[in-house]
């Protein structure tokens, strides 16, 4: 005798299998603090949105791109000139990459100036900084893929910097290049990093970052907390769904508008095909987010005391990165008092260094 089962009901069928009621209940309880700085909360979401755009357009580009020195440049040229909307997809991919790094920087500095890295959010900060590093790695690896002159020399310089690392530098550079110099093996490797290794690591870390944001909720700036403590009132809250979510959606539309306009008005150029036996062209410079270290390297003399300037530069960047990553740990003293001025000073100094040296790297 066959077992009798209940006929599926419209709402009940999914409810029984997915347990959506708990998700609805969760969304109904989640709130976002409302204060004068709420605007900055949107930048993390915009960065996530641009990352999704990257995944989608990158997947489309994969349908035509060929990762070999003989075909890479021509395949991108084919995408841009023969494939319908190819120029738009490639342009959106490039512009979105740049805008994503920009919004990630804005998000990071807003976290610094609003003190959102405070206990217990140290791991959220760490995962966020590593995600920014991964975004830069995406930029560096993706830059080589069209195999044009500028990307070729940028990769030569970038991988040669890795060679300056004491003890393991030569092996590290060799690992990155897939050989002794930048060539076909490097292109294949960078393609692998760009479409498989980095997305895999980023997805895991991104989910961790979002889970941590979820666990700890949105941070309110200390100044806002203090004001409300003095007046005795609680910080007003906005329901995450639908209020904040719909506002975030509008921010995404805004980002999409900017992205579409940039891609259509300023299509990303392809440049000249890389020739390993041509000199580096005059006026060569990296993408804007690498301009500050690029200009710094230009300024460091060939030798500083007994050390090569290149090594000193690399050591300086490494120490700066380490100091920045450790921000939540030195932002409080041993008595647990926040070093507010130090953090603001460090943030302003870093923004100042990046802005000034990027401008100098661009204009000089």
């Amino acid at each position: 005798m066959a077992a009798v089962t209940e006929p599926p009901q419209q709402a009940g069928w999914f409810e029984e299998r997915l347990g959506l009621a708990s998700l609805r209940a969760f969304l109904a309880h989640k709130t976002v603090p409302v204060h004068a700085q709420t605007l900055w909360y949107y930048f993390g979401g915009i960065t996530l949105f641009l990352f999704v755009i990257q995944v989608l357009t990158g997947t489309l580009l994969l349908l035509y791109y060929r990762p070999s020195p003989a075909e890479a440049y021509e395949s991108v040229q084919f995408i841009m000139t023969r494939v319908q909307f190819g120029w738009l997809i490639r342009s959106i991919h490039s512009w979105s990459a740049n805008l994503m790094i920009l919004t990630a920087f804005v998000h990071m500095f807003s976290v610094v100036f609003l003190r959102a890295f405070r206990r217990p959010r140290e791991l959220t900060w760490l995962s966020g900084v590593v995600l920014l590093g991964l975004a830069l790695a995406f930029g560096f690896s993706g830059y080589l893929l069209p195999w044009n002159t500028i990307s070729y020399f940028a990769t030569k310089v970038g991988t040669d910097m890795a060679a300056a690392v004491p003890l393991v530098g030569r092996n590290l550079a060799r690992f990155l290049r897939g050989g002794s110099d930048v060539g076909g093996a490097t292109l294949t490797r960078f393609f692998g990093f760009h479409v498989a290794v980095l997305p895999g690591i980023t997805t895991i870390l991104l989910l961790t970052h979002l889970a941590l944001v979820q666990k700890h909720g949105m941070s309110s700036p200390p100044r806002v907390l203090e004001e409300h403590r003095r007046t005795g009132g609680a910080i007003p809250q906005m329901p995450f769904f639908p209020n904040f979510f719909l506002r975030e959606l509008m921010a995404w539309y805004g980002a999409l508008g900017v992205l579409g306009a940039m891609a259509a008005i300023f299509p990303w150029e392809l440049g000249v095909k890389a020739d390993p036996f041509a000199p580096a062209p005059a006026g060569i410079r990296p993408e804007w987010y690498f301009l500050a270290p690029f200009y710094t390297l230009k300024l460091i003399p060939s030798h500083v005391w007994i050390f090569e300037g290149e090594l000193i530069g690399l050591l300086g960047f490494a120490l700066l990165a380490l100091w920045w990553v450790a921000l939540p740990f030195w932002a409080v003293n041993s008595q647990g008092v926040e070093r507010t001025r130090w953090v603001t000073g460090a943030g302003v100094a870093l923004v100042g260094y990046l802005a000034t040296f990027s401008a100098l790297g661009y204009w000089r």
Partner: protein, 143 residues
């Protein structure tokens, strides 16, 4: 009585797990390390005809897998250097206006002896020998 046995089992399980992990990771790491691909050793290349390069000009010549910068300084004088900048591996070019070799990446300048004049390069450029055989320019490694 049970504790030593538990510890032994823990060690065996932990050790086995670690050994399996190493046995998976070791080939993966070895795989990522690019193999040495020996290239035919090049000691001499032809850089074309004498009349192809005017005085006070330079050109990049393929020397095996490396770029070499050949410079004709005067009617009769020729020089050749590795075109790989000793700073960060970019390819240098000859600057006719200043009679120097220049790396556009970080503004490194070398004189016509390959010595660093200014900028961040830490070492001089490696020099090559140039010979004229009939009307052919030949670049060779220095002994």
């Amino acid at each position: 009585m049970d504790e030593p046995r538990r510890n032994l089992v823990r060690w065996l399980l932990g050790g086995g797990l670690s050994a399996s992990l190493i046995s998976f990771l070791y080939p993966a790491f070895k795989f990522m390390n690019p193999p040495d691909v020996p290239e035919a050793s090049v000691n001499e290349v032809s850089a074309g005809k004498v009349q192809d390069l005017k005085p006070n000009t330079g050109k990049i010549v393929k020397f095996g897998s490396l770029p070499v910068l050949l410079v004709r300084t005067t009617e009769t004088e020729w020089r050749a250097f590795s075109a790989v900048c000793t700073h960060l591996n970019c390819t240098v070019q000859y600057k006719e206006s200043s009679h120097q070799m220049w790396c556009a990446c970080h503004n490194g300048l070398y004189n016509l002896n390959g010595q660093v004049v200014s900028g961040p390069p830490p070492h001089p450029l490696e020099a090559y020998s140039v010979h004229i055989r009939g009307d052919e320019v030949v670049i060779s490694r220095r002994a």
